[in-house]
């Protein structure tokens, strides 16, 4: 085992996931303690642009595992490829982003490499005995917990998106290529296609800003006012379960316990009461705004800024003001 930190730089279509670039900051901090290097691993088919983006974060070394069969994500092929990189680098710690891919891949890789794993972590330190110690949300964000790792085993952690920012200005990383040798079971998952769910509209998990609507919107048509504000803010539109169950928005936009967990820079809750199961999906947002006619609505307890008023009056006014300032 070396003292290196390996970062899995997840990409699709030669574009690195922003959450993967955010791994470099904690990786550098850990490497400063262990005395190792930060090595990024990319897996895919065409990786030139992705490698250039990773290089800018200032990693020491980049390893590419590229093959035509790796063009689309497959849990078993990517597991084999990442395990190959781990065997090559022999890192002390591996970091992935807790994205859809990272959540799916990390447990497989951890079992394959006989490692220990913690998912969705928000803090990483090396404890007195030299082992990794992390902090992660539990009980849908209603508590946090420290998790210690055993000292004698590879430690793998997936990091919650938007917890750290991506460093810039790096260059000159050493590059190496590793061959992908298919394992015996690697062809058992056949990825047929990636189907975009809602046209070109941004998904809640991809956006820095989310404008979210609840039952108060009363119809799919009325969600238009949220889409107009979202357009001005380059935001995604989310919804409460009540709004999705009523058919105002597809379930892919649902935020919450049984919907998606989001951690944007700004979350604007419009006509959402703030039920505990909704909070479970968005309480990690940096800044929270609530617009609700009921000043007792629980969402105001969490909100940084609140307006007690009708969404149908406030939201268009917000759109107009943002438009006016853009000129």
């Amino acid at each position: 085992m070396t003292n290196d930190i390996l970062v899995f730089a997840e990409q699709r279509n030669d574009v690195v996931h922003p959450a993967a670039l955010q791994l470099v900051m904690p990786a550098k901090a850990l490497a400063a303690t262990t005395g190792g290097k930060v090595v990024a691993c990319l897996i895919g088919d065409k990786l030139d642009n992705a490698m250039a983006a990773v290089e800018k974060t200032g990693v020491d070394r980049i390893i590419a595992v590229s093959a035509p069969q790796l063009g689309l994500y497959s849990a078993v092929r990517y597991r084999t490829a990442l395990a190959t990189a781990i065997a090559n680098v022999e890192p002390r710690i591996v970091l992935l982003a807790a994205t859809f891919m990272g959540r799916d891949l990390a447990p497989r890789v951890a079992v394959k490499t006989q490692a220990a794993l913690a998912t969705d972590v928000v803090e990483l330190t090396i404890s007195g005995d030299g082992a990794l110690d992390v902090r992660r949300p539990v009980y849908n964000g209603k508590a946090f917990c420290h998790v210690s790792f055993p000292e004698d085993r590879l430690a793998i952690a997936s990091v919650r998106p938007n917890t750290f920012s991506a460093p810039a200005g790096g260059s000159g990383a050493a590059r190496a290529a590793l061959a992908y040798t298919p394992g015996p079971g690697d062809d058992r998952i056949n990825v047929q296609e990636i189907a975009r769910s809602a046209g070109a509209v941004k998904d809640v998990t991809e956006a820095d800003i989310i404008v979210s609507g609840g039952r108060a919107l009363k119809s799919e048509d009325n969600f238009k006012i949220l889409y107009e504000l979202a357009q001005e803010l380059d935001a995604a539109v989310g919804a409460s379960r009540a709004a999705c169950d009523a058919g105002y928005q597809p379930h892919s936009r649902q935020v919450g316990l049984t919907g998606k967990t989001v951690t944007p820079r700004l979350y604007i809750a419009c006509g959402i009461s703030g039920a505990i199961q909704h909070l479970a999906g968005m309480r990690g947002s940096k800044v929270i705004v609530a617009i609700n006619t009921d000043k007792e609505a629980p969402i105001f307890k969490l909100a940084d800024y609140g307006i007690v008023a009708d969404v149908f009056k406030v939201v268009p006014a917000l759109t107009a003001e943002v438009q006016r300032l853009k000129g």
């Binding site: 969705d120 009980y139 998990t205 929270i288």
Partner: protein, 264 residues
């Protein structure tokens, strides 16, 4: 086709979480325990397959937990699982998620199962590790966060859709396989009182650590993390209520978001 569905028992999602004074765990007395919501989708999917496909021989529900976990197992049986397996031993309480996967793999191996269904995540520890880790421990393929599952006519393979950023992956797999369920796959039917009574008569096999050959080796190969200190979430600073007419309030909010919060 033999189906195994994994059930976990978790605090109800409305539970107020209090940390114990020693910070080693949460307060557990008086906490209402329910079937993990994502596992509910998996249970329903298993039962739907059993009802629709003549080639489905059986649905077995498996739970790991103390005696009180039997209640969650009974829900699965009332909804339509044929029999249950309850892995119940003090030795299991210290296992982390990867070790839990190793335990279940050791129990399931050689059981002749073709499809294992479970929720994509457990809403207590929110780790989401079990499904993919179990698949790897069994050396099976898996699909995570599945929102749609369609079997081929011969019942040997299926096409699944799984949720990713702003899109769905469409994947094809042959059995045996592990499938983890996301919201949208299906909603669990309500376990009726008569069915809950009938469920009491369905066979449940209790499995102890001593019944699992090679357990120590399997569990010793992976994991070993320990939860050691719990804390409440960081307090958010008190929010600001912006007064005034909607137009004025909107202007003020935009100003604060730009100048104070620097969020837009």
């Amino acid at each position: 086709m033999k189906i195994l569905v994994l059930v976990r028992q978790v605090p109800d999602s409305t539970t107020t979480i209090k940390i114990r004074p020693d910070a080693k765990d949460i307060e557990r007395t008086g906490v209402k325990m329910v079937v993990n919501p994502f596992d509910e989708f998996a249970i329903e999917q298993a039962v739907l397959l059993r009802e629709k496909r003549p080639d489905v021989q059986s649905v077995t529900a498996l739970i790991v937990g103390p005696a009180t976990a039997a209640e969650a197992l009974r829900t699965a049986l009332a909804v339509g699982a044929d029999d249950g397996m309850h892995l119940q031993d003090d030795a299991f309480t210290a296992l982390d998620e990867l070790q839990m996967a190793a335990l279940i793999a050791a129990v399931v191996q050689g059981g002749g199962y073709d499809l294992i269904l479970l929720g994509k995540q457990e809403i207590d520890l929110d780790s989401g590790q079990l499904g993919p880790a179990l698949a790897e421990a069994l050396d099976w393929p898996h699909v995570g966060a599945t929102v749609k599952l369609e079997f081929a006519a011969d019942g040997k393979s299926f096409v699944a859709r799984r949720r990713i950023e702003g899109a769905e992956e469409v994947v094809q797999l042959a059995l045996p396989a592990v499938v983890t369920a996301d919201k949208g796959l299906c909603e669990m039917r309500y376990p009726s009182l008569p069915n809950l009574m009938k469920a009491k008569k369905k066979p449940v096999k209790v499995v102890k650590a001593a019944d699992v050959p090679g357990l120590a080796e399997a569990v010793g190969r992976v994991g070993g993390t320990a939860l050691h200190t719990f804390q409440p979430p960081p307090a958010r600073p008190a929010g600001k209520l912006i007064a005034g007419e909607p137009d004025q309030a909107a202007k003020e909010l935009v100003r604060l978001l730009r100048e104070e919060a620097k969020a837009i």
